[in-house]
């Protein structure tokens, strides 16, 4: 039986954009997306797609990607399809614009998961590179009452359980759980595959399912905000760097060592 897998993927501002392109609008308390740099699929979510595809390669799987947001760059969000995922479901609504908490996101994602009839395995990124919350997957697991394993660097499905190599501060541990389960993955999983030409062609023909909040069965009380955003600012860097000069690189290095000694740092 092919494994029925869901990948949760978020569209984010490209975290690799040059630091100078990062701007915020302090009054609106928002980050201004750079005009000429397209958004990307959150990097760890591409790792999640890769993890799902490895299971598909091994034993067959049906992979549904779900994303929620206000506006989507469709060609960006189709990347998982061109890598080899099967379906794309977009939860698109202006109501998401003011969502400052993961709680809201989790209600929508779980409602969509339930509407699709549930999954054997849900794979997520460890965190979104914009708000860096690392909360949504844990919230989805709690809300659906599923087993939850975080920080995977290898994900296998054997019989009716998932076996995960989970990163630990001093190595890794092998953790397993019966399906259904939710797993988050990290970049240590390895470079996600590139879309093939055939994959890209197939993805062009696929149309995503688009739902708004009204298509989903959510309890209004659960959409009440759990967080208030009071301020958003760019921290000041007040460090004055003293560049140590020398006749050449080696001399500068010697001067550096002497200075560190003088400061009793070494």
């Amino acid at each position: 039986m092919p494994v029925n897998i869901c990948v949760l993927a978020k569209q984010v501002v490209d975290p690799e954009m040059p630091a100078a392109a990062f701007r915020i609008d302090p009054d609106a308390r928002q980050v201004v997306p750079p005009a000429n740099i397209p958004p990307v699929v959150n990097g760890f979510d591409e790792n999640a797609v890769e993890a799902a595809l490895q299971i598909k390669d091994e034993q067959g799987a049906n992979i549904t990607v779900i994303s929620s947001g206000t506006t989507f760059a469709l060609d960006v969000m189709k990347k998982p399809l061109s890598m080899g995922a099967d379906e794309l479901v977009l939860l698109q609504d202006d109501a998401f614009a003011n969502s400052v908490d993961s709680f809201f996101t989790v209600q929508l994602l779980t409602a969509a998961i339930n509407k699709l009839g549930g999954f054997d395995l849900i794979i997520c990124g460890r965190q979104a590179s914009d708000w860096d919350n690392a909360q949504v997957p844990l919230g989805v697991a709690e809300t659906l009452g599923m087993a939850c394993i975080t920080l995977g660097k290898k994900v296998d499905v054997q019989d009716s359980k998932v076996v995960v190599e989970r990163l630990a501060p001093d190595g890794f541990e092998v953790v397993e759980a019966d399906l259904p389960a939710l797993v988050t993955v990290s970049n240590e999983l390895g470079q996600p595959r590139y879309p093939t030409l055939r994959g890209i062609m197939a993805a062009t023909r696929k149309r995503p399912t688009v739902w708004t909040t009204s298509d989903l069965d959510v309890d209004d009380a659960q959409l009440e905000p759990r967080l208030t955003l009071h301020d958003l600012f760019v921290p000041e860097r007040d460090q004055d760097c003293e560049i140590i000069e020398g006749d050449d690189d080696a001399d500068a290095a010697r001067q550096l060592a002497l200075r560190l000694r003088e400061d009793r740092l070494i």
């Binding site: 599923m146 939850c148 920080l151 001093d170 541990e173 958003l232 290095a253 740092l265």
Partner: protein, 332 residues
């Protein structure tokens, strides 16, 4: 919840000693408790927490719950979570503080969702709003490029604190407080995951997190071999070696060398970066260092905005000369 009051900190006590992250939470919690004129309590969780509750009182707690059950001998997220939920419900605090360490990363969000409340994640600073008495939390977003100030609308208000941002209070054995034995019921069937193997990949020598001096290498090193030079330099200085994510992703060093937002948080006295550009996500793990030294051939690299001392140059020339001088200095 009605009448919720006080600040509750969660801590653990590996080997019967109160963890340093718990001491940090107590320092943050003490300041909040004094500002709000409320009680600071801690829940120390384990099979046997020995005299960690007493240590917690010396570090600032007014009350310490010894939350015990034999099933809590080893960390298991599902079981610890169930113990935390029991204590949170019973103690009914207004504010809960949790460390965003390896365990807290999963426990804090899960507890918040279980209680149906919000979580201020990965906070650098927490304070009490002078007018409302609500918790205000500063947390980095976009890898540290910006800071958001958030508050929770529901109670308990939960904040997860980034490790090593608060300095523990000095232990004062004369402080008095109440230790409350709090044996909890744990249903072992609540454990939905099983650890079947543990693989250690620890580097030899001093641990990265504990080292007073750290030398880290980045993508500009161009391969795994130069790391042996960094190991040698670190050895001379009595320090440890770290790396950027780019070096880890290239497979030059194991994942547990990574410093940064999704790696380790370190606060050494001296942090020497070699061929690292200083991306915000890297700096998120090391900006608490007392002094940063940058060695980079690009004078415009961001790392020079974060460093106290910089050498603009090629590491292949800089590192051997640095090593030679350090050798002379440390042997004389």
């Amino acid at each position: 919840m009605a009448d919720a009051t006080g600040i509750l900190v969660f801590g653990d006590a590996p080997d019967g000693q109160l963890a340093s992250t718990a001491q940090e939470l107590l320092a943050a919690g003490r300041a909040l408790a004094d500002a709000l004129n409320q009680e600071l309590s801690i829940a120390v969780i384990g099979a046997d927490v020995a005299d960690a509750p007493q240590q917690a009182i010396a570090h600032g707690a007014d009350k310490a719950y010894a939350v015990t059950n034999p099933a809590l001998a080893d960390y298991h997220p599902d079981l610890f979570l169930s113990a935390m939920q029991t204590v949170a419900t019973e103690a009914n605090p207004g504010i809960i503080l949790i460390a965003r360490n390896n365990e807290g990363r999963e426990l804090a969000p899960r507890l918040a969702f279980r209680l149906g409340v919000g979580l201020a994640q990965d906070c650098l600073e927490v304070s009490a709003d002078a007018e409302t008495g609500r918790l205000l939390a500063n947390r980095p977003v976009y890898g540290g490029s910006a800071i958001a100030v958030v508050s929770c609308t529901h109670t308990p208000q939960i904040a997860a604190l980034r490790p090593k941002t608060y300095e523990p209070l000095d232990a004062d054995a004369s402080r008095s407080g109440q230790v409350v034995a709090f044996p909890v019921d744990i249903d072992a069937a609540a454990a939905k995951t099983r650890v079947v193997d543990v693989v250690k990949e620890e580097a030899e020598g001093i641990k990265l997190e504990d080292a007073r001096i750290v030398v880290s290498g980045g993508r500009g090193l161009g391969g795994p071999e130069p790391f042996s030079q960094l190991e040698e330099l670190a050895g001379l200085l009595g320090g440890a070696v770290g790396a950027s994510r780019a070096a880890v992703d290239s497979g030059w060093v194991p994942a547990n060398y990574q410093v940064g937002l999704t790696g380790k948080t370190i606060t050494p006295d001296l942090y020497i970066t070699v061929a690292i550009s200083g991306a915000s996500q890297h700096m998120a793990g090391c900006s608490g260092s007392k002094a940063i030294v940058a060695i980079n051939k690009d004078a415009d690299a961001n790392i020079f905005k974060e460093a106290r001392y910089g050498v603009v140059g090629d590491w292949e020339k800089v590192i051997p000369a640095l090593m030679e001088t350090v050798r002379e200095l440390t042997q004389s």
